[in-house]
């Protein structure tokens, strides 16, 4: 007989009731009213609504990284703010739940600050804490992500030198790669024949024709021609431009006519253009902008002013780091290879079969919902499109906390996403299941991550 679904999965506690909350497109994450049963199991860690967006946090709170001893008064401040910001009446959350959750979160925040303030950061500790969710304040997330992605080394004394090195490297990239071919040719000319005055000395007379440098002319069709590559890049640049304008149209940070939005868009464009130029094999694929957006957002909203100035450079390197693990997903030729997207999707399928055979059978065999229809976007875009922005930040905390890279964790989260709505999936046919999976209902993220974590313990145990 096939494996039965374990009892703890079937408990009503894990079923999210979509009617109780709408998907809000604002920054505030949704909270959990579904703790219907008593506290027989530990209450899921939620991120309580943050009443002020992160940039203004700086004005009310000093960075905990600089003064770990000052952390205690900050916790109280945080708790108070969370208390004020709690939205009335709609939530069935009790007062004590709120304060307990914010206390738990504050404790996590304090532990993270402590871990970060050590001379040599204990990466395992940071990973463990991050998996529970990073609190949304004082630039903790920004620093934690930089550590997890290997941008900052664990040794704190090396931070400033590393940052200076990487940031100047980024500036060099910009200077070298963003010039047009006329400039390049002019520099080649000047270096080839320095100091020679071309035709300025003659006041009149026939102009002499000279040889072109390195066979370069604007209409050149040669593959290695600077001009040809420039014109090919123009197409890529146009596509990047279009995609950047469409990124997160509901967020003021990314979209609209404000100078803030325009500078964000320019930064995103520069990063993507540089990436495309530095990686001619993969160039730019639609979707890369979605992976870049959370990174840039988090780094730009760091309360440390210096970090904000260099958010673009930092985001570039972290983006490269994340993509290095997922490159194969974006390369069409590698679709069918061992590391390609098809095999990843089949791994997800296997995972689902292992944990919940009934659901797997129903989805793939009975209703014939091919996982490619929904999992492709989940996997290649790292779930940025399935949840609202704040939720996806929390999911990314969880994904990045895995020491072996986000791929395995991502599959577990996807599997958990399927399991959480199993009742509706089991009751649905092809059309309704597909519609449900392509518009994943909003749910409690901490539930989701808790289930995902449980899946790991089950497979390893």
């Amino acid at each position: 007989m096939s494996k039965k679904v374990p009892d703890w999965l079937n408990s009503s506690i894990w079923v999210s009731a979509p009617s109780q909350r709408d998907r809000i497109s604002s920054l505030f994450p949704s909270s959990t009213p579904t703790t219907t049963s008593s506290d027989s199991r530990p209450p899921p860690l939620t991120e309580p609504p943050v009443p002020v967006p992160p940039p203004s946090v700086a004005s009310r709170e000093e960075s905990p990284l600089s003064s770990p001893t000052g952390a205690t008064p900050q916790i109280n401040e945080r708790k108070d703010r969370h208390g004020e910001g709690d939205q009335p009446a709609d939530r069935t959350l009790s007062e004590e739940d709120v304060s307990r959750q914010s206390q738990l979160l504050a404790e996590v925040g304090l532990s993270v600050c402590n871990a970060l303030s050590k001379q040599i950061v204990d990466m395992r500790e940071v990973r463990r804490l991050t998996a529970q969710g990073v609190p949304d304040c004082a630039g903790i997330r920004s620093t934690v992500w930089k550590l997890l992605l290997g941008y900052l080394p664990p040794d704190r004394s090396l931070w400033s030198s590393e940052l200076i090195k990487k940031r100047s490297q980024y500036n060099n990239f910009k200077k070298e790669l963003l010039i047009n071919p006329s400039e390049v040719v002019r520099r080649l000319d000047d270096s080839a024949s320095p100091g020679s005055d071309h035709s300025h000395s003659e006041s009149s007379g026939m102009l002499l024709r000279s040889d072109i440098t390195c066979g370069e002319h604007p209409l050149s069709l040669g593959k290695s021609s600077i001009w040809n590559r420039f014109f090919q890049d123009t197409e890529v640049i146009e596509q990047i431009d279009r995609d950047v304008k469409r990124t997160h149209p509901d967020m003021h940070f990314f979209s609209g006519d404000t100078p803030e939005a325009r500078s964000s868009q320019d930064a995103l464009k520069t990063i993507l253009i540089l990436f495309a130029k530095l990686n001619p094999g993969i160039r730019y694929i639609q979707g890369m902008n979605e992976i870049l957006a959370p990174l840039f957002y988090v780094f730009k909203n760091d309360p440390d002013a210096e970090n904000v100035d260099f958010a673009e450079a930092d985001a570039f390197f972290c983006f490269v780091e994340i993509l290095s693990g997922f490159r194969d997903n974006f390369c069409q030729q590698l679709d069918n290879s061992v590391g390609g997207i098809r095999s990843t999707i089949s791994k997800l399928s296997e995972l689902l079969k292992e944990h919940d055979e009934e659901l797997w059978r129903h989805l793939e065999i009975t209703t014939k919902v091919n996982p490619q229809f929904y999992a492709f976007r989940w996997i290649t875009l790292l779930l940025t499109q399935e949840f609202n922005f704040a939720d996806s930040l929390q999911i990314w905390d969880f994904l990045l906390s895995d020491a072996e890279g986000p791929q395995e964790t991502l599959l577990r989260v996807c599997c958990a996403m399927l399991i959480l709505i199993r009742r509706r999936l089991l009751a649905g046919d092809f059309t309704s299941n597909l519609r449900l999976l392509q518009n994943y209902p909003s749910t409690s993220i901490s539930h989701l991550l808790y289930v995902a974590d449980k899946l790991r313990q089950k497979t390893s145990g």
């Binding site: 047009n180 071919p181 006329s182 400039e183 040719v185 002019r186 000319d189 071309h198 035709s199 300025h200 003659e202 006041s203 009149s204 007379g205 026939m206 102009l207 002499l208 024709r209 000279s210 040889d211 072109i212 066979g215 002319h217 604007p218 209409l219 050149s220 069709l221 014109f231 123009t234």
Partner: protein, 189 residues
Amino acid sequence: MVLVLALGDMHIPHRAPDLPAKFKSMLVPGKIQHIICTGNLCFKEVHDYLKTLCPDLHISRGEYDEETRYPETKTLTIGQFKLGVCHGHQVIPWGDLDSLAMLQRQLDVDILVTGHTHQFTAYKHEGGVVINPGSATGAYSSITYDVNPSFVLMDIDGFRVVVYVYELIDGEVKVDKIDFKKTTTTNAH
């Protein structure tokens, strides 16, 4: 970095059927921002073809053009340079550099593009530069039968112009370039 194509004297269909294939393979849309044509296309299909390469097209009338409404001369400003176009059959003696210099001073332009002689020339004088892109199809002229197909592409970048000369010699495209800068003392009235 503005790319300006200068060509003319195609005489299609009277003296030549079409541009050389090698030229056509290089002239693709999307690269060129302006086209200056000295005239003698001669008929509408050539105009349409040039329009597909680039929407910004400036043509002056040659004596064999079937379209009578092209202007005799035209001036335009691109970047820091003023350019003028005239077919050149009006300037007598044909191809005489001093007379063309007179026309250039009349039009008050830095670069004058003319044709009619079907021979490439680039000449500098105190008033500016005269460029003759030759005949893009290699059609015979009123003066000579020995014509190599040629055209000119100008890369205007601030005060500097790089003129790329494309010539079809013995079936191969040969590219040369000419560099010059605009000095602010010229054209100071």
